[in-house]
């Protein structure tokens, strides 16, 4: 009955809830942002929803997902394949490639010449984790992270692969991972959205992002990811207009509440009280959000740790710092997207720039969380939508090369939140083309992430157009090997 309990709990009778909450405007407002079905749902049981309800004890409470948009090469980051250097410019054996379909970009290429990393690899930490030279800071935290070398996916193009990673389906307006968690667990902070989205761009060849990646799909739209911006308004229209102070706003809202109360007397519609509460919550957000997004008061040692870029709004470093602050304040799911990892050509030039932009801040985030005692309850995820080919796309020279999209294997890392620290999980063959041990499909990763958050991926469902949907569709197996 657990699932049904969850469903019914989430769809708690709005009027019942408001019947109690309408007495004080403050108390019910949290519901709207937190579990909006509460305020908008149709029918439901009379059960009060236990907030933060999980199927079993969670290992992590919050997630920060550092999405590397465009697909960073595993062969220049975490999956060390010296054979590719030895076999420089030799053809990828047919037996290795098998029946793998290739993108339209290399389908017409006459040959598939192998190419190894231009950058050196070393082993780090007690774990002896291999990391390439362009990620010197991540190299220092290897004992805190779990590198998974055997992620595999289905799509071979950016849009469907990104969509698949974020929503569990290549096409279709399915809810994003963060929306599912918002739906399942709500927010820990009544003045902040449960699901926040931060965007940044790197210096490499970029691929756009799309709001469907943080869509609520068929879930209530309050589970939609709220995009934060680097402009003066961190959230859409957060700031009061010029010439209108927060005291003026207070006065306006008091008058508004009185007017709306008059309407309530005429109509008796509980929705009017909900509206009053939403305005109160908006008012509180106007203070709460700038408090969180203000990084100007961060101490020097923190700025130093993330790098001076972190003081420039809209950079990856700044977003990492902001992610820590949002997460610390109780935001359930902070989703970063950093563009620029699509190295079809000029990999040797672009990849170090990309790495430089993210290496320091990514590592700093882990260290920062650890120092605050938050790493244990925060799951941090780092990686992109697919891997890259072990053969060169375009012209291969000693100085430069490119890599096409590769779905069969690639590397990501996770840290904190119940993940085994200091391990490398899974193995690929010496060509870095196929998985030979412990594959982790995206569906498996989703199942594992939900598991760490205390949710059974088969039980977190939502019925829409006659079918119970899940983040993992009808697939997914929890990967015990990476769970501490």
């Amino acid at each position: 009955m657990e699932k049904e309990f969850l469903e019914s709990g989430l769809n708690i009778n709005r009027r019942h809830f408001l019947g109690k909450a309408a007495l004080g405007f403050g108390s019910a407002a949290l519901g709207s942002l937190m579990i909006p079905d509460l305020l908008n749902g149709g029918s439901g049981s009379e059960n009060e929803l236990p907030l933060g309800f999980t199927h079993f004890a969670p290992k992590a409470k919050r997630i920060i997902f550092l999405f590397q948009n465009g697909a960073p090469s595993q062969l220049e980051s975490f999956d060390y394949k010296p054979l590719l250097n030895e076999m420089y410019d030799q053809d990828l054996p047919e037996s290795v490639r098998g029946n793998q379909r290739v993108t339209g970009m290399t389908a017409n290429q006459e040959r598939f010449p192998l190419v190894g990393s231009q950058f050196g690899f070393k082993q780090y930490g007690q774990s002896g984790t291999w990391v390439s030279d362009i990620f010197p800071n991540i190299a220092k935290i290897t004992d805190d992270i779990c590198v998974i070398k055997t992620i595999h996916t289905e799509a071979i193009n950016h849009d469907p692969a990104l969509t698949f990673f974020q929503t569990g389906a290549q096409v279709g307006n399915r809810p994003s991972m963060g929306s599912w968690l918002s739906y399942g667990l709500g927010s820990e902070n009544k003045n902040l959205p449960a699901f926040c989205v931060l965007l940044s761009k790197g210096r490499g060849n970029g691929q756009g992002v799309y709001s469907k990646l943080w869509t609520n799909g068929f879930l209530d739209s309050v589970h939609q990811g709220v995009q934060f911006s680097a402009s003066e308004d961190p959230i859409l229209y957060l700031n009061n207009p010029d010439g209108h102070s927060q005291e003026d706003r207070r006065k306006m809202l008091d008058n508004l509440a009185s007017l709306n109360e008059m309407s309530y007397k005429d109509f008796g519609d509980p929705e009017i009280h909900t509206k009053i509460q939403q305005y109160e919550m908006a008012f509180r957000m106007q203070t709460a959000v700038p408090d969180v997004t203000d990084i100007s008061k961060e101490p020097d040692h923190i700025v130093k740790m993330y790098g001076s870029d972190c003081m420039v709004p809209g950079t990856y470093a700044s977003n990492c710092l902001l992610a820590r602050k949002l997460s610390e304040a109780g935001v359930r799911f902070v989703q970063l997207y950093h563009q620029g990892w699509d190295q079809h050509g000029s990999l040797a030039q672009e990849m170090p720039l990309q790495a430089e932009d993210v290496d320091r801040a990514s590592a700093a985030l882990i260290t920062d969380l650890k120092q605050r005692g938050l790493l244990d309850e925060t799951l941090v995820i780092w990686g992109g939508e697919f891997g890259r080919t072990n053969y060169c796309q375009g012209k291969l020279t000693k100085e430069n090369y490119g890599r096409d999209h590769h779905p069969r294997c690639y590397s990501m890392w996770m840290a904190g939140g119940g993940v085994k620290a200091g391990i490398s999980y899974g193995e690929t063959d010496e060509f870095g083309y196929n998985i030979v041990k412990d594959p982790v499909h995206i569906h498996d990763l989703h199942a594992t992430i939900l598991h760490l958050m205390g949710l059974d991926h088969e039980k977190l469902t939502y019925k829409y157009l006659g079918r119970r949907f899940r983040l993992t569709d009808v697939h997914g197996k929890v990967v015990p090997g990476i769970i501490a």
Partner: protein, 753 residues
């Protein structure tokens, strides 16, 4: 137990005296059993199917002449025993399925078996018939046929309808429902002063012939048709489908019959008397997303587009979740995978490619029509002729013999199985090739055939939703086994048949609805309502409902006098916070940067706001608009703090407040009259005394505040690009603007009461 999708929580229900298969039993069996014992032959377990009568009374495999159900004898019905056992090895559904029957459900099945275990065909697949109008007690209340059915239910459950709505509220409701715009002050005054018997009907007729009616009606259709101004994938380049959007508005305004709308949109290129307009209408099936991502596999995406059309056909015209049958037989409804691809075949003969070129290769991929100025002047006169040149619009076209259509194993584009011919799901209605041509025109005729049980029902249900917030069948996109049952089945059928028999006349249907006593009753919610019918299933009151995203914008612009009432033309880009497109863009394509429009284009209706699919207009999304990613049959209606922030701080609302304040201040009237007029313009009813007092006190206080700090007044009124009125009194304008802005933020402003 409870389900979100408009479903009913059954735990506290009383088991009915007479259990009905369609209304009580099938919803349970469908939800809990059909996934393994239903239409999907490949997923079927133990050779048992419970979705057909034959299956339910066939001896069970591996059981010694025992049956799933035995009429009158639950204790001998193996299926029932399995549902009730506590033995986890025997239990059905198996414990690991996380789907269980609750006590109510078990009691219903038990009683149904005792009463004879009668199977009936699914209600939505039986062609509708006009039932006799029910006998009701309160005949005086009834205005037309709709009311008989509604009142009959109300009397049955012991509720009485509300009083007729106050005239001002009623006018606001019907004006927004028919035109998406507030009634003007003149209309309000005339209507309130008109005591004649047919005052309301005259108003309805006036609104139905208003040129903005088409815009209002088009919005929902654009959601279904997933209309947008960009291609939708990855770099997301520009496309020019807006002439098709203008056609939809035109079709509603000219009251094209629904059969014409269906035929032209599905097969305007195949009808005998086709012309450029009928071809343009087929753009309906080209509004899906198209990729421009370098490196994609052509066929993978071409199949994706045909899939999208097939699924859209299902949701839009049939109210069925066709998409569930692409990878396997449908789990709940009688649609086999082969039937899915037979329907798919109608859309599979287009001479098109999955990818034509990368970003900005094309604003209209082939096949398309070239609309010239000449055509705009001669036939397509409804196209807003602002572009001096031509415009290309994607349309449908068939190339006979271009390719065979195959069943695709598991729906994969490269897993071709058996070749199929044109067809439709047999359980709905046979696609008889002696009656219907084997092409999209045949498909349209099949939809519009008198024997088709779904088309008319699904459409009248949609129209009903436009006025009553939700359909008679709440799941407007799912009339299948998992969908909700109609709250008023006889009414739905009566309306469906009446609609078809009267030439599929949409305005007639709309008029029937808005002139019913049901629609014109007040929206007051009483304690009794909340206790007996909190969801308002029985319609003892009118729904209070929040306006759609587009309508909220239109209300703000129209009430302030800013609205540019122009109809049609290329979409426009109003105010939007800086950087929203740029930060998400790869940096390629003409839509990389948001280049805001100016002047009159800032004040167009919401339906004309440019939709870039990967970054849809943020304010619209905040108010639950569709992202137009795919066919959307129903919008949410949420109530969130982010919406409050928009109404409080969006320059569109602030500018409207400023401009209205300037205009009223320039009039030689008293402050009382100014506040009263602003209130009527926005809330569309006379201000009540306590409201007026509060607002006047607020105005006085604001005047004092701004007088102390005139710089603040100047700052506050410096919003928006609309030219300022010369010689304005800045303090007075700022104070009035503050009051007006408060009125805009009243709950009632964006709600139809």
């Amino acid at each position: 137990m409870s389900c979100k999708d408009g479903g009913t929580d059954t735990t506290s229900l009383k088991v009915p005296d007479k259990v009905d298969f369609n209304f009580h039993v099938r919803p349970i069996l469908s939800d809990k059993c059909f996934a393994c014992h239903g239409p999907d032959a490949n997923a079927r377990q133990a050779d048992l199917r419970l979705d057909t009568e034959e299956g339910a009374f066939t001896p069970l495999k591996d059981y010694n002449n025992q049956f799933p159900f035995v009429k009158g004898k639950p204790e001998e019905s193996i299926a029932f025993l399995k549902m009730t056992t506590s033995d986890t090895a025997e239990m059905m559904p198996p414990p690991e399925f996380n789907v269980h029957l609750n006590d109510y459900e078990i009691k219903v099945i038990e009683k149904w078996i005792r009463q004879g275990a009668e199977y009936k065909p699914h209600w939505a697949f039986i062609p509708p018939e006009k039932a006799a109008l029910p006998k009701v007690k309160d005949k005086d209340w009834v205005k037309n046929e709709i009311d008989y059915f509604v009142l009959d239910k109300l009397e049955e459950v012991g509720l009485a309808p509300n009083e007729v709505s106050d005239k001002a509220y009623l006018l606001k409701r019907v004006a927004f429902d028919l035109t998406g715009l507030p009634p003007t002050l003149e209309m309000q005054e005339a209507f309130l002063a008109d005591d004649s018997e047919d005052a309301y009907e005259k108003m309805v007729d006036q609104l139905l012939s208003n040129k903005h009616y088409g815009e209002k009606m088009a919005v929902h259709w654009l959601d279904l048709a997933r209309y947008a101004d960009s291609h939708g994938y990855q770099d997301d380049g520009y496309r020019t489908m807006w002439p098709w959007r203008d056609w939809v508005i035109h079709a509603f305004n000219e009251n094209y019959s629904y059969d014409r709308m269906v035929t032209w949109q599905l097969a305007g290129d195949l009808i005998p008397d086709q012309n450029i307009e009928t071809q343009l209408a087929t753009g309906f099936n080209r509004n899906h997303k198209i990729t421009q991502e370098g490196g994609v596999i052509d066929e993978e995406y071409r199949i994706e587009y045909v899939t999208d059309r097939t699924n859209t056909l299902g949701k839009t015209f049939l109210g069925l979740t066709m998409e569930c049958a692409k990878c396997h037989d449908h789990k709940y409804d009688p649609i086999s995978q082969e039937e899915y691809f037979s329907t798919f075949a109608f859309f599979d003969k287009v001479p098109e490619k999955g990818i034509v070129g990368t970003i900005d290769a094309s604003f209209a991929d082939p096949p398309f029509i070239k609309i010239t100025n000449e055509m705009k002047e001669e036939i397509l006169t409804f196209i807003n002729n602002r572009d001096t040149g031509y415009v290309d619009v994607m349309v449908m076209k068939d190339s006979v013999g271009i390719r065979d259509t195959h069943v695709l194993d598991r729906g994969n584009y490269d897993a071709k199985a058996k070749v199929v011919t044109f067809g439709t799901p047999e359980a709905i209605m046979e696609f008889d090739t002696t009656r219907f041509e084997s092409n999209r025109l045949g498909l349209a005729n099949w939809l519009l055939s008198e024997d088709n049980p779904l088309t008319a029902r699904v459409f009248v249900n949609r129209i009903w939703m436009e006025f009553f917030t939700r359909g008679i069948v709440k799941t407007v996109g799912d009339f299948g086994m998992q969908g909700d049952l109609p709250t008023h089945p006889e009414l739905l059928d009566w309306l469906a048949v009446d609609f078809r028999e009267n030439g599929w006349d949409i305005k007639r249907l709309v008029k029937q609805i808005v002139t019913s006593a049901t629609y014109t009753q007040s929206a007051v919610v009483t304690k009794k309502h909340l206790k007996k019918d909190p969801e308002n299933n029985y319609l003892a009151r009118m729904h209070r409902s929040r306006m759609k995203a587009e309508t909220i914008r239109d209300m703000v612009l129209a009430s302030s006098g800013l609205l540019n009432p122009e109809i049609g033309g290329p979409s426009v880009k109003p105010y939007q916070p800086d950087g929203m497109w740029e930060v998400a863009s790869s940096g390629r394509g003409t839509l990389e940067k948001y280049v805001q429009d100016h002047g009159n284009d800032l004040y167009r209706r919401g339906i004309y706001t440019f939709i870039k699919r990967t970054v849809p207009p943020p304010v619209m999304l905040t108010f639950d608009a569709s992202s137009r990613d795919q066919c959307e049959e129903k919008r949410h209606s949420t109530n969130t703090p982010l919406q409050a922030l928009v109404m409080l701080n969006d320059p569109t609302v602030l500018e409207a407040s400023r401009v209205l304040a300037e205009r009223l201040n320039a009039e030689q009237i008293s402050d009382e009259e100014r506040v009263e007029k602003a209130f009527r313009s926005i809330i569309c009813r006379p201000v009540k005394e306590p409201e007026q007092k509060l607002l006047m006190d607020y105005l006085a206080e604001q005047k004092a505040t701004f007088k102390e700090d005139p710089t603040k007044a100047v700052e506050y009124i410096s919003v928006g690009e609309y030219p300022i009125i010369e010689n304005r009194d800045e303090v007075a304008v700022a104070a009035l603007m503050q009051v007006i802005h408060t009125i805009y933020n009243m709950e009632e402003s964006i709600v139809k009461s």
